[in-house]
């Protein structure tokens, strides 16, 4: 299951909030229909190329299902893999089922008006985006999705809207975490990765990766500045100065369950995740758990929420947990809101296969 890294979005918003705040001294208030609310990335059904971005104000229980289509009169024409925004620019990763049709779609952040695209061959199978200053880093699998031999990080200059560099990353680059001029790059769970790539965002060069005992999936930086990385049925806590693994916490997967959708709480002191598995009839089962960064083991006795989700994120402004529910790839999904203690607030119908959230 493809997982979304919300930390990337949270970081992007942190940066952009900073940027807006600093600009606010002189700039007038932003204008547009989508100024303050929740943006949901809907993957859509792969062959139907019908993903989109849904939007709702926090106090609302109904969403605009596809705001790009509403603003531009034309759909994104693919699944949405990720969304991030900075200053007045939004950046959407669009994945089409046919090679050569994938793209990065730029939009005006508050109106969602089309501001241009970057397509093939610069962008092939984009997975996730992180914005650092005036640059965006997009993990891409490239064209080879069998052996993942063609993966790279596309570095985009947000001013010229051009890919300025492709940094090769093996095994299918996927989840991204940024901290202190370092971009940590995980790899797809469908590949055979065994390391966490690191890119220096000043030089845009790869530095020595961190060897991991399996496929690396970076989760984020906690309140103590430690990097958390999921590797199969383990959580690693890594010192970002030395790149040394300081702690390894096992997740009781029983060998058959899969952990995913990791996301940090607002105070960066807890981590939420989903543990799920399929029975012989491919029915999905599972639950959502929470552990503290100071725990010495991950308690799995009582789940926070007794059901699995397709996506998970925490709203930095209210602290509510947003969970994506996808009943099937052939019908609209829901964003379900929970309080930090796991109690249900409400749900909002969104697009197909909601997997990522961006808060603004």
């Amino acid at each position: 299951m493809k997982m979304k890294r919300q930390l990337a979005s949270s970081l992007a918003i942190a940066f952009s909030t900073l940027a807006i705040w600093s600009c606010n001294q002189s700039d007038p208030a932003p204008k547009g229909d989508y100024i303050s609310g929740v943006f949901v990335s809907n993957e859509g059904n792969f062959q139907d190329n019908n993903g989109g971005i849904s939007y709702f104000a926090r106090e609302s229980t109904t969403a605009d299902a596809d705001i790009f289509a509403a603003a531009n009169g034309t759909a994104l024409k693919g699944g949405v893999q990720d969304y991030a925004a900075s200053e007045e620019q939004g950046i959407i990763l669009v994945d089409n089922s046919v090679t050569g049709q994938d793209k990065v779609q730029f939009v005006h952040r508050y109106t969602f008006k089309d501001e241009g695209t970057i397509g093939a061959p610069d962008i092939e199978n984009p997975r996730e985006v992180v914005i650092v200053g005036r640059k965006a880093y997009v993990s891409c699998w490239g064209t080879d999705v069998d052996k993942y031999s063609t993966g790279y990080i596309a570095v985009i200059d947000l001013t010229t809207k051009k890919v300025t560099k492709k940094i090769n990353v093996s095994d299918g680059p996927e989840n991204l975490t940024y901290a202190n001029a370092k971009l940590y790059v995980g790899t797809t769970q469908w590949g055979v990765g065994n390391k966490l790539a690191i890119i220096n965002t000043n030089s845009d060069e790869a530095t020595s990766p961190i060897a991991t005992p399996g496929i690396a999936n970076p989760v984020g930086i906690d309140a103590n500045g430690k990097l958390w990385v999921n590797v199969g049925d383990k959580m690693l806590r890594i010192n970002t100065e030395t790149n040394a693994t300081e702690a390894t916490l096992p997740i009781a997967t029983g060998g058959t369950k899969t952990a995913g959708n990791f996301t940090l709480s607002n105070d960066l002191k807890s981590i939420f995740f989903v543990l799920s598995w399929y029975d012989s009839a491919f029915k999905e089962h599972g639950a959502t758990y929470k552990f503290s960064i100071s725990d010495t083991q991950i308690a799995m006795v009582t789940p926070l929420i007794p059901r699995p989700f397709y996506g998970l994120a925490v709203d930095p402004s209210q602290g509510l947990l947003y969970a994506g529910v996808s009943p099937s790839y052939k019908q609209a999904g829901y964003a379900v809101r929970y309080r930090a203690d796991g109690s249900l607030v409400d749900s909002v119908k969104v697009g197909i296969a909601p997997s990522g959230f961006f808060f603004q």
Binding site: D48, N49, K77, G100, Q101, Y278, S328, I352
Partner: protein
């Protein structure tokens, strides 16, 4: 003029000039060949007694059901195209189309792609693995006669005939020697060619022989002048299609007939062919062969069909290769049953069909898999009075591992008004339908389900047909049909279960069809109109999980509620102008109807002129497709092409 339009016009002009020059050379070559053949054919040809070939599908036992025959002039007009183009223009069948030259499946009367039986000379040619036909792989060149039977006819046809059946048939040649050859050039560097030779000869006092050999070859390069329309991509694809059809008939005066039929067809589709790593190739090859022997009231038929599907992505040299063989034998016997008194006798047909499947598919849990299916049927037709025709049919299928339901049907036609100039007939039928699970549904690794149940449904329909023989100086026929078809155990590759196949749905499809046909002739002028409208409401009736409240009662995906089609022509002597309209309302793409593809209407214009001299004919035809440059999307969410052009030249010689 918009710069884009100007460019299209310039392109088409250049294309026309090129085509005409090429055709002139081409036809000279063919003319010289034809003259030599003529000399030979004329010497030998002997006028044949008309010997009628009996139909391959027992349509006379389908009383109460609606059958639409597409006339041969209409088929000739689109001789270089695929069957989907004909069906869209003449019937309310909706197509789920992935793009030009790409997968195109039918939704007949609100059902899914698995619910239309496609019969070639009475044999179901739906791919046994998929249980459906890709209509983009069936060219008009492959058959001589096309009929469309609406609604369930499972008791006569068998499995898959839930929404309706498409009947493709070969016809014995009536002329001693006929050859036609031609080529069509289309926009986007697409072209099609086709050659047909028909022949007939008397072998002895008893026996006559006739046959047909047809070759077709098409290449769709789809070189669109621009890669997008309204910002939506026109997906780069290529489709190459070629095939050969061979029919041989031996007919005797003492009511014996032997016929041999073979149809080899090959269709290769490549998506994004220039992208060496991302391109996707699907090659569909079918070898269809059949021998049929009929002596008076007994008919024996044996057939072998091999369906091959090769699929590859990136490296096209080593595709996934799946092969399915189908061996089928059928015996049927006709009786006349006297039921005493002054009552008219009952026509009875009884028989059985045995089919063996053997399939090697890389995705199956085991390979090869094999399966036997047997069907027994008893069909009756009775006309107690001149006004009434009834059919009562029974069928029982037997399949390895499980059995489909016993399948009865009853049909009635009643002549309400039978006058010289006006006829009104009421029709009705009630019958059970079923669909045997496909091989993929049973044997696909992990996602298939060996215990899947066959689908079963009950179809009811009632209709009125009227004929005015002198309306506005011509003949006017109209019909209205209402149907109601409930299908249980509808199988479904369930997206909530990683697309594992399950019997999850109960679907109710109901609707109304209106059709109109008008023909008029005065002196050298002929005019005609054929129009249809259908309303199809097809929805899921039963729930299966917590979120299904979003789905119950909603229209099925890719089934438009409204479809309309019209064909109107004006002919003066040898010049004919035809307009075609096909329209469909929005098609939902999600089960909860939260997303849809917009409705659209397409208008095509065909103009042709036939130059006749001696026994030769030259037909020059031009087409403008999508004349209004309507923008619409296919199911991949890619744009379909705008206005385009086709020009064809067909040369023919007939010895009679």
């Amino acid at each position: 003029m918009h710069p884009k339009n100007r460019k299209i016009t310039a392109n088409s002009l250049r294309f026309s000039v090129f085509t005409i020059l090429r055709f002139v050379r081409y036809s000279i070559l063919w003319a010289s060949f034809a003259f030599t053949v003529t000399a030979y054919a004329q010497k030998d040809s002997i006028a044949l007694d008309p010997v009628t070939v009996k139909g391959f599908v027992p349509q006379k036992f389908m009383s109460g059901l609606k059958i639409q025959r597409i006339d041969s002039a209409s088929l000739t007009q689109v001789r270089y195209q695929n069957i989907g183009d004909v069906l869209s223009a003449y019937t309310p069948i909706a197509f789920k189309n992935y793009g030009p030259g790409q997968l195109s499946t039918a939704s007949f009367r609100g059902t899914s792609a698995n619910h239309t039986a496609v019969l070639w000379n009475g044999l179901n040619i739906n791919a046994p693995t998929l249980g459906q036909t890709d209509f983009s792989t069936i060219p008009v060149a492959g058959f001589d006669q096309l009929s469309v039977q609406y609604g369930s006819a499972a008791s006569v046809v068998g499995s898959d005939a839930v929404g309706g059946s498409i009947l493709l048939e070969s016809r014995a040649s009536a002329t001693p020697f006929h050859v036609s050859d031609g080529r069509q050039r289309e926009s986007f560097r697409n072209h099609q060619s086709r050659t047909d030779v028909r022949y007939a000869a008397r072998l002895s006092d008893q026996w006559a022989f006739s046959g047909k050999t047809a070759l077709y070859n098409g290449r769709m390069n789809n070189d669109y002048p621009k890669p997008t329309r309204n910002t939506y991509a026109l997906l780069p694809t290529e489709t190459f299609q070629k095939g050969i059809v061979q029919d041989l008939f031996l007919l005797s005066r003492n009511d014996q007939e032997i016929s041999v039929h073979a149809w080899l067809t090959d269709n290769k589709l490549t998506l994004t062919p220039d992208d060496v790593q991302g391109r996707e190739m699907t090659r569909t090859t079918a070898y269809r062969t059949m021998v049929r022997y009929q002596v008076r009231t007994l008919t024996l038929r044996t057939a072998w069909v091999r369906d091959i599907i090769d699929y590859a992505k990136g490296d096209l040299a080593n595709p996934d290769h799946s092969v399915t063989d189908k061996f089928s034998s059928r015996i049927e016997k006709d009786f006349t049953l006297n039921i005493g008194g002054d009552l008219n006798p009952v026509a009875v047909k009884t028989g059985g069909e045995w089919t063996h499947y053997r399939s090697r598919v890389p995705g199956y849990a085991r390979s090869p898999v094999s399966e036997n299916r047997t069907d027994f049927f008893l069909l009756t037709r009775w006309q107690p009075t001149a006004r009434v025709t009834t059919s009562f049919n029974l069928r029982q299928g037997l399949v390895t591992g499980f059995n489909p339901p016993f399948t009865p049907s009853v049909g009635l036609e009643y002549g309400l008004i039978q006058k010289t100039l006006y006829n009104l007939v009421a029709k009705g039928s009630y019958g059970r339908s079923y669909r045997v699970p496909t091989l993929n549904e049973r044997y696909w690794k992990d996602l298939g389900n060996p215990d899947i149940r066959p689908e079963t449904g009950w179809n009811k329909e009632i209709g009125l047909e009227q004929t005015f023989k002198a309306a506005f100086g011509g003949t006017l026929r109209t019909s209205a049909t209402f149907y109601h078809n409930r299908i249980k155990d509808w199988t479904y590759w369930n997206p909530t279960r990683n697309y594992r196949v399950e019997n999850l749905q109960q679907v109710l499809a109901r609707g109304i069809e209106l059709q109109l046909n008008y023909q008029h002739q005065t002196g050298p002028w002929r005019t005609g109109l054929e129009a249809g409208y259908a309303f199809n409401k097809s929805s899921q009736e039963k729930a299966y999980d917590n979120y299904s409240q979003d789905i119950i009662g909603k229209q099925l995906v890719y089934v438009p509620e409204h479809t309309a089609n019209a064909n109107a022509f004006v002919q003066f002597k040898s010049t004919k102008l035809t307009g075609q309209l096909q329209a469909a309302s929005k098609r939902y793409t999600t089960f909860d109807n939260s997303q849809f593809l917009d409705g659209y209407g397409l208008l095509n214009l065909l103009a042709e002129h036939t130059f006749a001299f001696y026994k030769f004919k030259l037909v020059l035809q031009g087409q403008v497709r999508n004349i209004t440059d309507t923008f619409y999307l296919n199911v991949r969410n890619n744009a379909m092409p705008g206005r385009s052009f086709a020009l064809s030249l067909t040369f023919s010689y007939d010895s009679q």
